[in-house]
Symmetry: D2
């Protein structure tokens, strides 16, 4: 075990924490030495997540019970607003992969406006790197703190950044119609995520008011080199995992969908996790479930000059814990796919 990297998971009682553990237990270079969850402290992990029984995991403890000196890296799966103080309290030698929203928005004012709380740790924000692996790979390698993107931004930005960067689509007319499985809402108790309410039907939520919108806009604005506003309309779909993004875009004059397709295909051709839907196959979340993959698709619209762009991923994997592990691999100079080779599970 001498050459393993010792990790802790803070906030191990939520879905992002548990899916990180699901993946990490099979990572050949990771040793899980601490799991924290304040309300469940003192319990064995299998009491909180029975599917994680018999994996030799440490019991859950409070943050202040952990001996941080022997820990190399921390994955943080806390809710937003609670992460920043916890991360600030960690020793300097620890490299942090944060799966919360606290360090995603570069602008403190935007953070406060959308999350309703102050960001007090400007020092941490200074050194935080936005953890969209394929697009900030070099920065991530050297980072001490990586802010993993939200699940929606991961899908949307993977799909749109190359097209906006190269000026193929109009960044000011982007219609992002998003659909998510219910696990995206977390393990907290809410009436609208009860099986009887969320099942056998589909609803809209947070229309034009979802916190992932400013995050998407932040990154698209950088790519477009001017401030961008997007339509972002999320829906809740009766499946536990999975996210389906349909973007309706206006191409720059004279372009066609084949150019868009080829641009994405070329851009990601060496990427292990990003791939185009094979000819004849339309994207489906079933095809990436449980894996760190993103499937992209490009289709002609009936309205001339417009294009339909699609991306699917598993919100708990590439949309959260998987990308966190991918970033960990980058930070510790491991092969980027280590521990993430799992093929999608279908059916």
């Amino acid at each position: 075990m001498a050459n393993k990297i010792k990790i802790a998971v803070i906030g191990a009682s939520g879905y992002t924490g548990s899916d990180l553990i699901r993946l990490a237990v099979r990572h050949p270079k990771i040793e899980i030495v601490a799991l924290t969850a304040n309300t469940h402290a003192g319990k064995p992990m299998h009491e909180v997540f029975p599917h994680l029984a018999n994996l030799g995991l440490p019991d859950l403890v409070k943050n202040d019970e952990v001996d941080w000196s022997g820990i190399d890296a921390v994955f943080c799966g806390l809710p937003h607003a609670t992460s920043q103080d916890v991360i600030a309290s960690l020793p300097d030698h620890i490299r942090v992969i944060d799966m919360s929203a606290d360090f995603r928005l570069r602008d403190a004012q935007t953070y406060k406006q959308w999350y309703g709380v102050e960001r007090t740790r400007h020092d941490l924000m200074q050194r935080a790197v936005y953890g969209l692996s394929e697009h900030y790979r070099d920065d991530i390698k050297d980072a001490s703190l990586v802010a993993c993107p939200g699940c929606y931004p991961t899908a949307v930005l993977t799909l749109l950044l190359p097209l906006v960067k190269y000026g193929l689509i109009d960044p000011d007319q982007l219609i992002i119609d998003a659909k998510s499985g219910v696990s995206g809402a977390g393990r907290g108790l809410k009436q609208n995520t009860l099986f009887s309410e969320a099942g056998e039907g589909m609803s809209a939520y947070a229309v034009a008011a979802h916190r992932h919108a400013p995050e998407i806009e932040q990154e698209l604005s950088i790519a477009a080199r001017h401030d961008v506003l997007v339509n972002f309309t999320p829906h809740l779909v009766p499946m536990a995992r999975g996210e389906f993004i349909t973007v309706h875009a206006k191409m720059k004059t004279g372009l066609n969908p084949i150019v868009c397709h080829n641009t994405l295909s070329t851009y990601y051709q060496s990427e292990p996790f990003i791939f185009m839907a094979p000819q004849g196959t339309l994207p489906a979340t079933q095809y990436v479930r449980g894996s760190n993959k993103v499937m992209l698709g490009v289709y002609a619209d009936r309205i001339p000059g417009r294009v339909i762009l699609m991306a699917v991923l598993d919100n708990l994997v590439k949309g959260s814990a998987g990308q966190a592990l991918q970033n960990f691999n980058l930070m510790f100079s491991l092969d980027e796919t280590t521990g993430l080779e799992q093929a999608p599970m279908f059916p």
Copy 2:
């Protein structure tokens, strides 16, 4: 029973046929005298649909075994292309409510282009009325043949026709992002509608190539008074019933979403089946399941000048059998809600 209207259901072994029967058995003015289904002819209905056991239904027979002389009205639930000849063969006194696609498209060329077969019965098309109940009510009352709209067009047109008619939104920039439950694909055996394949995930299908697009365009073009092309992007969602339509539209200069909301609200204020989502409630298919209702919603977009429009309905009821029954009520001068008073089933 003397004053009951005698009906037959042609094609009673599919979902639209069976849902028509589910509703019709509780209609106080309907007597079901014949059910046809060629491949299942000779069987009692409960062998084909056990949930319809013990309702006193006649056994399934072939079309040519029916004594049409005693029948007042026929509901036709056949697949497209097979309806026209069957309907043509019926005696003249029978009023027909067709739930297939054969007489929805006014233009024979468009029909052939999208359905791949000729429309041979131009005579029938001459007298067919498009059965969008709230918009063609007067024509339907006198019609001998009503072509009920497709499920998607019913939702989309209910949502958009008033706004296009009054010039509130730009008809040439309509993005229609549509999501349907699996029953919309019918009872035929297809791999992608198996439980193991369609469950726990979401897919796109027939992108920019769905047969309901020209139907939507036909009616919007009339309202807009010029030829309209729409974006129409359908998705398959893991629920049996339900359809969720999200339209992303550009408002005419100077307008705002409140005007759109009020226009729809006013337009449909006397309608028994169409209503606006109450303040604080976002549309969900769960709220209309099993009923003939359509819930509409209007929301501001983050992109100035744009509006997000939503409609939900049950594809088998208002999207098919329910609207067929509503049209029947109109044709026979009954209260339009007769047999359709069922409140939605939730959960």
Copy 3:
């Protein structure tokens, strides 16, 4: 409206309350004059249940805001232990149909043992009639207080009472393997009924410790004329509605499954809601969903002398609100099927 029966629903913010309303709004002899729900008092019904919008329902109020003098009957959908005091406070002229567990168990000691609280209102218990409609019909007609059975006991007793009464099966060897949809757990917030946890999998719960066991035993003991203990093993299945009961029983010597089938068939032959699975059809909850029906089945076991018995129903209808309405019909001398004619909804 003069000849309508005026009802109130106490506890209208739960699933049994809302499903009672779903059915009652279509009942030709019912006028809903009051809906109560203490925590939601003051709200319109559509804020609590959007699917009940636009039905002309009164707003939710607290119990003490209701003018009980004009009310003829009350449906009580409160949780157990809270019903008895509320019911005791109602004026004497009101006939009560209680859907809670407070008056199901005749023995106060058994009630306390299983529900953990005292039954203080012995006076009410004295006059309470057990509301298994088909088996206590005459008592229900004259009752001022009807205690509707639990969902599981309704299914189990409908299936077993005739066989035990006539001595066809051994009442001391009954294995009741029960499976329920998630709505049976109510609308309260529990982790195990979240969509992400209850979906795509099946679990056991309350094994040999479910409160419906003593209720089943109470009624079977009467039929068997001696104290009976049963195996009762409930499971949670990923569907909102529906209950599937599989009973594994030992027949009395010399009997065979055909005798059991014929006995049940004959026993219920005039019943509008109870029917045998047609030859060639195995029971499925899909076949009774949304309706007040119970489908029964009888099958030979591979072990000689044993029989497999099945019953399916919709836990919110025949298992709760529907049977309550059936009892109401009996109490007010209406046709027993009034307001309950809805055919099952499939798919």
Copy 4:
């Protein structure tokens, strides 16, 4: 690649074949060199299973196009009755792991009775080993042909064999109430496994007539040392994967459930895949989904002398492809868990 074991998958277009591939691509000692599927021959794998895109898999071919000389082991995922001739045609050096039913039943007469076809290859049957890994481990290690058990028998026998062997329960009174997810029915097109029919409800099927019954009886008879008949009552549950077995058993006089629990716990204490439900946790298929694990539980019945026994597994993994891979590991002297370390996926 020199030291990898070269495998082929025959019948790679079904769910057992595809799940075998899902697991095998991550097995460090396996090289997949051929995939066969007669009707899909010539297609790349991603056309048949898009979730297996980009894994470097060989295209599908016909059996007779494969160069068998370079192949060490074959996994056979064909339907029953078709396997025996295909396996017989393979060169002798190939070791075969058969996931079909052709060599599970030792008695040719029983095979014919339940599967309706002759078993012609008695020679193969002579050397076939029943592949219940934990119970036939030594035989499997040396086998040239392993007949992997059915999904139900795997769960039932894992649960019951130790208790029957040690005489703790009465083998002649076993009530096996079984519940399966829909993928157990395979990828073939059947009306009852359509999403709209199998969803949101539960049904019984093949009551006392399922082909896994004689397989269970065969093995229990060996353990009991006399011919055993069992009750076996399968149900279909709306989930893709997962199997829940509830056995209602009579204990031998004087025994109690704790003895049964301890016996199972001790029996399987060194097994990597079999474990008892932790105290306070009831079995759920969600806890083993996607993994090769079996969770067992033992509970007291209300009827004295009886015990309730439970087992859950993923029908496509431990119930089929996972156990096949476990047997492969045994046959090739690899660590038994190689390629099977994946933790369950929840939610």
